[in-house]
Symmetry: C2
Subunit: 391 residues, 2 copies
């Protein structure tokens, strides 16, 4: 298969590219390197010393004997997107090519506009290119569980049957997301659904939980193949952040009570899920939504897990409850359905002490690269609110 | 009150500006004149000979003795929006300033991107400006009934109580809109809801039906004050189009069976509804949705009404059923709730033969201005589909 991976230089995009290449697919990656730029702008960096995309591709060719093709460019450039799709004629597009951070989107107007502009218009350009050049191609789009928010009912996978005043219909699950970034993904979902309904495109929207982990089968083969690992307040996800904090002796930064519960999955399972989606494509005209996570935890539970696992290897860890920089429910109902990927054969790697200990060890190896000033939260959902102050 | 009207040069924006000015409010209008530009680009024009905004404002000052302030600029320019809001310190913003045409948004990638970019980013800029400069200000946003699509259950006003697996929550009504324009309004609604939830802004989202009519109390006072009246395939709404078609002897362009049912209201009632919303503002933090229409009709019923009313004044009218250029259900359930504006005191002007006859008469006066080539539908929802051919 010809597989086009948008955002192929990123945390998940790069390991995904290698995985599909290792399976013998013809892989093309596209990236505008904005994550690298944002880190430069904020004086932060990946914990892992990632190579340039060129070096990565050369190393991968050397290690695997497989070539991955790359194009540098921005998805808001509609002509660029059209050219890539028309020339490459992909059978599947895996779309990670978006601004992925909730706090980044909440920094201010410019970042909010950048996030919604890049994400919504980039995806819209892609939909037109697919419609006009590869209408049979399968779009596998990375969405987020955060699109749903935390309603007081069970979250279904994309659609819900509603009985109302004696009539029934199955409609898109209502969305109450918690940031302008999450909203950009809600907008994408609505646009993609439309493209499937009206133009007959086929798409799988992967509403992914929070990803953790540092290693996949392919990244482990050569240190030049490692993927990025962010731990800063903007781009780091919670478990990855806690593990870095534990290693450098920084109290774990729990926002508020830590009762916020979310779905989580290992980066290895992200690759498995994306493969399952690509190998079992949606039907023509179908907009399919999978809730892509394997377990759910509260933030406080994760802090306890990291504290305990670190303790087992002799690292003493404190837990701080900070004024919550976000506006979110700290205690809420949370029971999302997530059976569709299991039905396709997903074999989850569950989170436990051993996995956390292996992450701590991998982080320890790069401990001297940690930029400690990047850890405390500074971006607040309400301007002028306190953040980062221990309660 | 200080009232800021975005899109104040438009079909509804201009009459609204005069209405609030007539009531003694301090009115500021903003426009980027894109509707005038789009018409130039497509070789079309308003049926009514509208004056430049400058001439309108001068005429209004002469007729009413009231000054309306105007600023030319584009809402995607965040600094411009911020300056207008910070300097003007409005108590209410009435936001019509968006690309309003479904077919325009479906012409191709450029128009789709333009529509979603201008509408979504313009509104996002406005939300930031309000948050930072006038957090108590009431945003009255023009949305559309088309955001809902045509679900098989009763459409509620913005939110629906869902009982699911033994639990209950009241959530945003699920949306299945029918064009990329309608989607832009769905995106706006989600963003505005967020701004109310997170920042405590107050907003009323007016999910408006299809507007018809040519005259308001203020436009009738002087011919220089008339508002635009579009009848072309892109910007004309269905009843306005049918009336023009009747006058010039063009068969009425019913798309498909004409079973498509929508909510409708008179332009006079738009002004009433907007006034009711402004006079009864949302609470701080409240995102309130009103379904703004007075009656619902199928397209075929409207065609019959126009045929009959025209017949009463001696005009013989044919009805054509064309291949539907859109992708939409031609037979469907439709029963949206619309009680909130009635509860606030809306006195509907119902549609009937007399109103249609008065529209025919007004159109007759400008009959020589009709550009007949602009009438038949050419924009299709699926590229390459036939459109405009009689079945």
């Amino acid at each position: 298969m010809r597989v086009l991976i948008l955002g192929g230089d990123g945390y998940l995009g790069w390991p995904t590219a290698m995985r599909f290449s290792a399976r013998g697919h013809e892989v093309t990656v596209v990236d505008n390197f904005s994550r690298r730029r944002w880190h430069k702008e904020h004086g932060t960096d990946s914990l892992t010393p990632i190579r340039s995309l060129e070096e990565r591709l050369a190393a991968w060719a050397e290690v695997s004997g497989n070539q991955i093709v790359s194009h540098a460019g921005d998805l808001v450039d509609g002509d660029f997107v059209e050219r890539i799709v028309a020339d490459g004629k992909p059978d599947a597009v895996i779309h990670y090519g978006e601004q992925p951070s909730a706090p980044y989107s909440m920094m201010g107007r410019e970042q909010a506009v950048e996030t919604q502009h890049k994400n919504v218009i980039g995806t819209l350009n892609l939909l037109f290119a697919m419609r006009d050049h590869v209408p049979e191609c399968h779009l596998v789009k990375l969405g987020t569980m955060g699109e749903y928010g935390t309603p007081n009912i069970d979250i279904e996978e994309g659609f819900i049957e509603i009985e109302h005043k004696g009539r029934k219909d199955t409609l898109p699950f209502p969305k109450m997301p918690g940031s302008l970034y999450h909203l950009s993904k809600v907008h994408d979902s609505h646009n993609i659904h439309f493209a499937c309904r009206i133009w007959g495109l086929r798409s799988t929207d992967l509403n992914q939980g929070v990803v953790y982990g540092i290693e996949t089968d392919e990244t482990a083969q050569d240190e030049r193949l490692c993927t990025r690992f962010d731990y800063d307040e903007l781009f780091g996800t919670v478990l990855n952040r806690f593990c870095v904090q534990a290693v450098i002796g920084h109290p774990l930064t729990v926002y508020g009570t830590g009762g916020q519960t979310r779905g989580f999955l290992n980066i290895r399972d992200t690759l498995q899920c994306v493969e399952l989606a690509v190998d079992n494509p949606a039907e023509a005209g179908e907009f399919r939504v999978f809730n892509q996570f394997t377990e759910h935890f509260s933030v406080a539970e994760l802090a306890d897990l990291v504290q305990r696992s670190a303790g087992e290897v002799g690292i003493e860890v404190e837990i701080d409850h900070l004024d919550n920089p976000r506006v979110e429910a700290e205690e809420h109902y949370y029971n999302p359905v997530h059976t569709k990927l299991l039905d396709l054969g997903l074999q989850p790697s569950y989170l436990g002490d051993e996995l956390v200990r292996s992450m701590l060890k991998a982080i320890e190896a790069n401990r001297d690269r940690v930029i400690e000033s990047a850890i405390d939260p500074r971006t607040t959902w309400k301007p002028g609110s306190p953040a980062g102050a221990p309660r």
